[in-house]
């Protein structure tokens, strides 16, 4: 048989070991396009789209999003309403058809630098939960993606879930995406920003910028330096300028490198401002 439907991430791992060269498929929105373009004969497929443990969203002190959760499910999940940036990022991916099939896990493993959910998950300090023959291992998201289209996932490993601690009160997360149209578009630049405020000052800051280099741009030194700072326009302008300086965008069909760099400066400041507003609202609840 050339198609196997796994009922769990662990079963998918076993199937991959048994069928050399087999490929994992969930929604198929990346892999089917890639296979068609490569023109190679179809591989043995291990389908994880309906693997029970991978399709759940678990809420609690730790939030766990199964790897096979679709973008559409994220968009509509009431429990995630405290983190509207997740739904906002999920909602701008493709169109409805793509979001009904495309999964969080597939998007993460595909590791496009322009992926929309990944920057948001990074600002939440998420970990990737990987199923292996020897059990599950946890990898911080920042270390999971190693390059354009590359992750640390081994040949017989399957992403099971993405996990993050529910953020403390006083947290706001914002997401912005720039593109030539509002749907069916790969980001020209996207930005996720997270702030946790304590007594009006920043206690945690995370910023992630996509589509300006082979991996999502982070600046942990800048994030550390923000601890204790005031969440005001002057602070944010300085951070935005620094990240624009560090970005390594390319010229491509969608935009010039120069325009992308300009966008980073604008969008980082805007995202931080919105994150601060949401952090204040979160505290007030």
């Amino acid at each position: 048989m050339t198609y196997h439907r796994a009922t769990s991430a662990d079963e998918a791992v076993a199937l991959l070991a048994r069928h050399e060269g087999a490929r994992v498929i969930a929604g198929g929105t990346d892999i089917m396009v890639a296979l068609r373009r490569a023109g190679t004969p179809p591989p043995v497929f291990v389908d994880v789209r309906e693997a029970a443990d991978s399709t759940r969203i678990g809420m609690g002190a730790t939030i766990e999003i199964g790897a096979a959760v679709t973008h559409r499910a994220i968009e509509r999940h009431a429990g995630l309403a405290r983190l509207p940036a997740l739904a906002e990022a999920a909602r701008v991916v493709g169109g409805v058809q793509v979001r009904n099939l495309g999964t969080v896990g597939g998007n993460l493993v595909n590791a496009s630098p322009a992926a929309d959910l990944n920057p948001v998950l990074m600002t939440l300090d998420a970990d990737a939960l990987v199923a292996t023959a020897g059990g599950k291992r946890s990898v911080p998201l920042a270390g999971f993606i190693t390059g354009r289209g590359a992750t640390v996932l081994g040949p017989h490993e399957v992403l099971a879930a993405v996990r993050f601690a529910a953020p403390p009160p006083g947290t706001g997360v914002a997401f912005l995406k720039a593109g030539r149209r509002r749907a069916m578009e790969i980001a020209v630049v996207n930005v996720a920003a997270r702030l946790t405020l304590s007594n009006g000052a920043i206690s945690t800051a995370r910023i992630a910028v996509g589509a300006v280099g082979p991996v999502i741009l982070r600046a942990s030194d800048v994030e550390e330096a923000l601890v204790g700072a005031q969440p005001d326009g002057e602070t944010f302008a300085g951070v935005a300028a620094e990240l624009a300086r560090r970005a390594k965008p390319r010229d491509d069909v969608r935009a010039s490198a120069e325009y992308r760099r300009h966008l980073v400066g604008v969008m980082v400041a805007r995202a931080l401002t919105r994150a601060a507003e949401r952090a204040r609202e979160d505290d007030a609840d």
Partner: protein
Amino acid sequence: MQIEPLRLTINGETVDLLARPGQTLLSVLRDDLEMTGTKTNCLEAECGVCAVAMDGMVVNACLLLARQAEGHEITTIEGLAADPVGRALQASFVRCGAVQCGYCIPGMIVAARALLADNPDPGREEIREGLAGVLCRCTGYRKIVDAVRAAADDLAREGAR
């Protein structure tokens, strides 16, 4: 060449057939079942003319393995005439002048059907968002949006009787 048995539920009917490894649902529909109402174009989920509903959710058949559709209810444009919302859309698309070359229309109606099932009273922006995954090169979309809104109005009026 290897072929494998496949059982699908399409427009309420059980269909048993033999599928090739890696065969997409779109290929099964058009090539094996001669159900050509669902269209073929980009084969990369960019244009949406291949849209079908799977358990009521609109998806692109060009990317779905036929085997992934097993165990689910597939509805194509051919099946929408059996449904009052589908009929209302078919009528309003014609009445509103939303059809020019016609190639995007099955995808548009399938997507609109899924939208109205979820949200019977969508605003124009919501309609645009729900149809964003289906491209039209002829109409400029305005009359398509009009037609979806008109169908929603027609259904509301019928429901109120």
